[in-house]
């Protein structure tokens, strides 16, 4: 049973990831009890650089449509706005366009029209070059300064917008906002902040509810969560009666995907939780007070950029021979040298890289792996990245035949070293991207940072 919305409070229902699926009844029960906003995060850098680099969405169209249709219908029924941020995963223009196409289908199927604002945050390379030239780029967790070449080589650059970038759209009272890359907190906090609620508390509430049901128990995802913003506190409440929030589940949430759980840096400043208090007000709900906000001297947004690193071909096989496993370091070095030698004059050794993932030795952890005893069988994933798909395929093919027949001390099985599960054993895996921009950019006008459009 969800508490009915009270006078003076701002109630948001939040979906942690558009297209991952959520419990539908939670949404209708929340609408029934009264809400002011539906917020949905649609993105993350977690699935890796491919999506930003390629412009592809990382959730299927079918599942995105499933979730979006329910949220659009709920917004229509409740008469409240829906904000979807970081469209399509990376929030670039191509992903925004993809989500807008899905939204059009959804509105047609529901037979409704909605006033839809679009706030884009993909940046032209020239804008970033200009910022770099004017010393307005700050090095962040890469520990490497940004170079003009990084900017030129990025296939797409987006900026995580802050709450203010949603305000020009929100002042026009839209039914739906589709956002480009956004700070995940902004989707939830932009509207209550515009209505005058306390900044530290509102941003903290945004941080807790942005992942949906992760701040409640049981820990499994796939459900929504409610945040109730009031004058001097907020309340976190799961709409699903089988779930509950605890002081621990709510307090612990600021640890998630953050390096400092007490000082949450974001666009425009830092949320300070050092004096925050959590109180269990009933078996299912937690009240939060005392979170503060400190404005930064300069307003910054986080830039994300990805560049094409090459094209991938892989081969997967298993080794069961204990002598092969014991000599695997030497075998790898010999193979790499042999491949280079064999292709002399044909393929430049700088035109490709070979990575050996050795499952059963250190395939998951690499140099962080403390266990030095190999397993009795080892999975070998040979990952070749070449300047062209052809180079990757040819090097990978050579790596496959070479690893099958390579010699090593104590070799008794002279017919072949590796069990390949597939024929063909090589798989071409398409373009590979890498994050090459992860820096902060100073901006002057946070409200007009995004590009506002209205869907026709």
């Amino acid at each position: 049973m969800i508490e009915r919305k009270q006078d003076g409070e701002f109630v948001v229902i939040s979906n942690g990831m558009l297209g991952y699926g959520f419990r539908e009844q939670s949404l209708w029960d929340a609408v029934e009890a009264g809400i002011d906003l539906i917020a949905a995060d649609a993105g993350s850098s977690d699935p890796g650089p491919y999506y930003l680099g390629s412009g592809m969405p990382f959730v299927s169209e079918a599942m995105t449509k499933r979730d979006l249709k329910l949220l659009v219908k709920a917004g229509y029924d409740a008469g409240v706005p829906l904000i979807v941020g970081s469209a399509g995963g990376a929030g670039g223009d191509a992903q925004v366009d993809g989500l807008l196409r899905i939204l059009k289908d959804v509105m047609a199927e529901l037979d409704i029209t909605r006033k839809v604002a679009v706030v884009r945050t993909e940046l032209d390379r020239a804008v970033v070059q200009d910022a770099l030239a004017n010393q307005r780029i700050q090095t962040f967790e890469t520990n490497a300064p940004l170079s003009p070449d990084d900017i030129d080589s990025a296939s797409h650059i987006v900026a995580q917008m802050g709450c203010e970038a949603y305000w020009p759209a929100l002042r026009e009272k839209p039914d739906i906002i589709i956002g480009g890359r956004a700070w995940d907190v902004a989707n939830i906090a932009a509207l209550p902040l515009l209505r005058g609620y306390d900044r530290g508390l509102t941003l903290h509430m945004g941080k807790i509810v942005e992942c949906g049901s992760l701040a409640s128990r049981p820990t499994a995802g796939g459900d929504l969560i409610i945040g109730r913003m009031r004058d001097d506190h907020f309340i976190v409440e799961p709409p699903n009666p089988d779930r509950f929030c605890t002081v621990q589940s709510v307090a612990a949430h600021t640890f998630y995907e953050k390096t400092d759980p007490l000082m949450l840096a974001g666009p425009g400043g830092t949320v300070d939780l050092r004096r925050t208090e959590f109180e269990q007000i009933d078996p299912r709900r937690v009240k939060v007070t005392g979170s503060a906000f400190h404005a930064a001297e300069r307003y910054t947004v986080k830039l994300e950029g990805a560049r094409l690193a090459g094209y991938r071909a892989i081969t997967i096989g298993g080794a069961r021979d204990p002598n092969f496993i014991a000599h695997i370091d030497q075998i790898q070095a010999d193979l790499t040298a042999k491949i280079k030698e064999t292709q002399k004059g044909i393929v430049d050794p700088n035109a490709y890289s070979i990575t050996f993932h050795r499952y059963g030795i250190d395939g998951v952890m690499g140099k962080w792996e403390p266990v030095k005893t190999p397993a009795h069988e080892v999975g070998l994933l040979i990952d070749v990245i070449g300047e062209t798909p052809e180079i990757a395929a040819s090097v990978c093919g050579l790596a496959r035949s070479s690893v099958l027949h390579v010699g090593f001390p104590g070799r008794v099985a002279t017919a072949g070293n590796i069990a390949f599960p597939f024929s063909p054993a090589e798989i071409s895996a398409g373009p590979v991207y890498e994050f090459n921009i992860y820096h902060l950019m100073e901006i002057d006008d946070p409200e007009h940072f995004g590009r506002l459009e209205w869907m026709q």
Binding site: S45, D46, P47, G48, P49, Y50, E141, T142, N143, Q248, A251, A252, F255, Y256, E257, K258, T259, D260, P261, L262, L273, T276, F278, A309, G310, S353, T355, H357, G363, V364, M365, G366, K367, W368, E369, P370, V371, D383, I385, V432, Y433, E434, F435, Y438
Partner: protein, 104 residues
């Protein structure tokens, strides 16, 4: 002696952005949290040794009483999901913590 998996309720790793993996250890109550802190086995130095990383690669090792938790992060040598990376989400780097000594 007890190892961490016998005392802690949650032991996990995850990306905090593409260039850092962050580690969280939660205890079920203040008593367990304080016992582990007092035992002095789960330390910044012990974690550096366990993960074979230098002190300069380990970020922010702290005990946080408000959440009965310990948190630290490690700088990645390659970025998440890029060439040579083996764990795009950083979600399987927690395992060496499981059998680290926690209580004497």
């Amino acid at each position: 002696m007890k190892v961490l998996s016998e005392v802690a309720e949650v032991i996990r790793s995850k990306n905090a952005g593409p260039f850092v993996v962050t580690f969280d250890i939660f205890f079920k109550d203040r008593a367990d949290f304080e016992a582990v802190q007092a035992a002095g086995l789960l330390t910044r130095q012990a974690v550096c040794e366990r993960y074979n990383v230098g002190d300069n690669e380990l970020l922010g090792f702290e005990y946080y009483p408000f959440a009965n938790a310990v948190k630290f992060s490690i700088q990645r040598s390659v970025s998440a999901g890029g060439p040579r990376d083996a764990d795009a989400y950083g979600a399987q780097q927690h395992a060496p913590l499981l059998d680290m000594p926690a209580l004497r």
